[in-house]
């Protein structure tokens, strides 16, 4: 019920074109998912003491400037870059404090991501409309993880859209259907982890984050995932400096990778990669099942 895209630019000179290269990839996945789309972009990390939070509100009439003023009043120095239904908040204040404050003062605002490098955009509508709304073609950075969604509920809300994030600078998109998400959720909730949706993908995202927080590296966490997570999945994941991809042992959900010296690109279907520079000479391959592929910035 989805399309996934991923892009990591190896050549630093190309990083300013990350968005330009991504937009046709996302639009290529429209048929697989035309109800909503999401994109996580990783760029140069902000300074140690600061954090960025991506904020979203479904209400197009939301008074962002008012939120800006309230945030300043409450938390002091910070910046809020607003664009349509979305804003990027950069602050030295603790993210958990911002979150708590938002929950009570502005419950209609969702925190899509927290981190030093990550920005996440999510909205409803066609991928092309979303790309244009947030000027995706102007985005710069090192790598990204994107997703287009075919909704199973009528209310298409950001809570149910990918990428899912947990902790900081970590996100996951998923193509497929998990078979035991509810048990995973209950197990994680017992560990004090809070959920925002009923989406099976959120269970996978928080499960892996839980393992990573426990000190495991991504590869080890994914090995545990093969044992604990049941169902069909292609997972595409992003951390501050990595892009990782894995398919379940049955590998019924598609994925294709194109790699050159300049970039590595991933999509559910080749037609999302066809426009990329030098695609004709790229190494194009299908990831094997139950094997972890990762690329570092």
């Amino acid at each position: 019920m989805c399309g996934i895209v991923g892009l990591l630019i190896k050549n630093p000179d190309l990083r300013e074109h990350l968005g330009e290269l991504m937009v046709p990839m996302l639009i290529g996945m429209t048929e697989r998912g035309s109800d909503s789309a999401g994109m996580a972009v990783f760029s140069a990390p902000v300074s140690e003491g600061d954090r960025k939070l991506s904020l979203y509100c479904t209400d197009s009439k939301f008074d962002w400037p008012k939120l800006d003023a309230s945030l300043h009043a409450r938390f002091g120095m910070l910046s809020l870059e607003i664009q349509k239904n979305h804003a990027i908040l950069q602050t030295a204040a603790k993210p958990v404090d911002i979150r708590t404050w938002l929950r009570s003062e502005y419950p209609e605002v969702h925190v899509l991501s927290i981190g030093r490098a990550i920005d996440v955009y999510k909205d409803v509508g066609l991928p092309a409309a979303i790309a244009s709304r947030y000027a995706f073609e102007t985005l710069r950075g090192t790598h990204l993880v994107g997703h287009t969604r075919m909704a199973t509920e009528s209310a298409v809300t950001p809570k149910n859209a990918h990428p899912y994030t947990a902790g900081e600078d970590w996100c996951l998109v998923h193509n497929g259907s998990l078979a035991n998400p509810h048990s995973l959720k209950r197990m994680l909730e017992k560990h004090g982890i809070q959920f925002e949706s009923d989406c099976d993908t959120e269970a996978a995202c928080r499960y892996l984050d839980w393992r990573l927080q426990g000190g495991e590296d991504l590869e080890t966490a994914l090995h545990h995932a093969f044992r604990d997570i049941d169902g069909f999945f292609t997972f595409l994941m992003g951390t501050q400096d990595k892009l990782a991809l894995v398919r379940d042992p049955f590998a019924c959900k598609p994925a294709i990778v194109a790699e050159t010296d300049e970039y590595v690109a991933i999509a559910s279907e080749f037609r999302s990669l066809a426009h990329l520079p030098n695609i004709k000479s790229a190494h194009v391959f299908e990831p094997k099942p139950a094997q972890i592929y990762s690329w570092s910035v």
Binding site: G3, E31, R32, M150, T152, S154
Partner: protein
């Protein structure tokens, strides 16, 4: 004779004129009842799951638990003859160049040649043609008899792809992609060796006489995002002419119907747990899938939610038996129904006789040989159908002649249609598709909750108010 207190047996004998089985000193366990004991003994004897035909036999909330609010002082009925009640039904208007127009909203469900004899497929085709409705192929492909006899034939594309080919696809009037059926959502087709005759084997590319194991997933797609592309492929191959149906066994109906619509279906077919099969594991039949009553409601909700009611049609199946069932399914929001088991019963399934040379011949011995009796038989999987319906045996299949079968099937369909229009008229409708859920109430709480209609005599819809 005076009753002596010291003689308990005498007491019972004098006061109890019933047989020993009603002897109150015999206590059957509800959990380990005779059916369960037999099940366990069978498992211990064979080491294999029980396989049988037909659908769920146990009682579940069904259409019988709904009743119509016929005309009264506040609602006026239509007269029987002069005041027409239309039954024309259009299916596949969303994308196809050639939608299907049926004279009645009652279709014949997919049942395979292999499960059924060729004579039966022909009989059903003839009856459908006469009544202006459609038949559906099954998990064995299209037979020439069926294509020849049926004026509107829906061609199934199943996980097994037995016999599936582009020539038959081009000859079909509609395409039905089968994800599952009500008898066994999540399971694949099954046909035991005794029914894999030469002809069946050839059509399915299988060795004769083996037990057929079938896939439960399609070989070249998994999931609604891939289904989008598969539906397009089938449309491309048939030049976008034919409606594409997507059929599912009733489980997560709301989500599944939503996804089927997103994937591009013209028609959605939802088959409840009462839906039949010629052979599958008992555990599937009785324990997987939800009642048709609950399924219809969810399917209609999904279509209304997506605002495609009228654009994407809904066919409901699984235990549709009577004209009242048809009317109730339509009132709940279905555009049409599909009937499988009912058609077979019309042809003679569970009848004590079959027709031979214009006379009724008794089939009792053959039922007994199977260890069953008329009215209890579900032995389709054996291929030894006493009335020649679910068999490939050249002797047995003669017991159902196409002409006789066609007449019976047609009579049954006609009766259903007459009952349907009669009920619709009684509710004041000149078109059966104007029946609405407000024309009904439920007589049990479960049915009220599942169907989303009030409990009779109250305004209460459990779960809604």
């Amino acid at each position: 004779m005076p009753i002596k207190n010291t003689d308990p047996i005498d007491l019972q004998r004098s006061s109890n004129t019933e047989s020993d089985t009603h002897d109150s000193s015999l206590e059957e366990s509800a959990g380990f009842d005779r059916h369960t004991i037999r099940y366990i003994q069978r498992a211990a004897a064979t080491g294999l799951y029980e396989i049988r035909g037909l659908g769920a036999k146990r009682r579940v909330p069904h259409f019988d638990d709904l009743v119509f609010l016929g005309a009264s002082l506040s609602r006026y009925p239509l007269e029987g003859y002069r005041e027409k009640c239309t039954t024309t039904t259009l299916l596949g208007t969303r994308f196809a160049k050639k939608p299907i127009e049926l004279a009645i909203p009652i279709t014949i469900a997919g049942m395979s040649f292999g499960a059924l004899s060729a004579n039966v497929k022909e009989a059903l085709g003839r009856a459908a043609t006469e009544m202006g409705t459609s038949t559906t192929s099954g998990d064995g492909g299209m037979t020439a008899e069926e294509r020849r006899s049926s004026r509107t034939l829906v061609y199934q594309c199943l996980p097994s792809r037995y016999g599936f080919n582009p020539d038959d696809l081009r000859q079909a009037d509609a395409i039905e992609i089968v994800i599952g059926q009500g008898a066994k959502p999540g399971g694949g087709g099954m046909l035991l060796g005794q029914k894999i005759s030469t002809r069946v084997a050839r059509m399915r590319t299988l060795p004769e006489g083996i037990d057929q194991r079938s896939a439960c997933r399609h070989p070249d797609w998994t999931g609604p995002d891939d289904l989008v592309i598969k539906i397009k492929e089938l449309r491309e191959i048939t030049d976008w002419e034919k409606p594409v149906y997507v059929k599912m066994g009733a489980t997560r109906v709301f989500h599944d119907v939503t996804l089927a619509v997103h994937a591009g279906a013209d028609v959605v077919v939802v088959d409840g747990m009462q839906g039949g099969t010629a052979a599958t594991q008992l555990a599937f039949i009785e324990h997987v899938g939800i009642p048709t009553l609950a399924a219809v409601r969810q399917a209609v909700d999904a279509l209304e939610d997506l605002n495609v009611k009228g654009q994407v049609q809904l066919i409901v199946s699984g235990g549709i038996r009577t004209g009242a069932d048809v009317a109730k399914a339509l009132a709940l929001g279905a555009d049409a129904v599909a009937i499988g088991q009912g058609m077979l019963v019309a042809l003679g399934c569970n009848s004590s006789t079959y027709v031979q040379n214009g006379n009724h011949a008794l089939a009792l011995d053959d039922y007994h040989a199977l260890g069953t009796q008329p009215g209890y038989c579900h032995h389709c999987h054996t291929g030894r159908c006493p009335v020649g319906v679910t068999t490939q045996d050249p002797v047995l299949e003669q017991r159902l002649q196409p002409k006789v079968g066609a007449l019976r099937a047609r009579n049954y369909l006609q009766t259903l249609n007459m009952e349907l229009t009669m009920l619709a008229r009684a509710c004041g409708k000149h078109n059966v598709h104007h029946l609405e859920r407000e024309d009904m109430v439920a007589i049990t709480v479960e049915a009220a909750a599942m169907a989303g209609v009030p409990l009779a005599g109250t305004r209460w819809v459990p779960g809604l108010n």
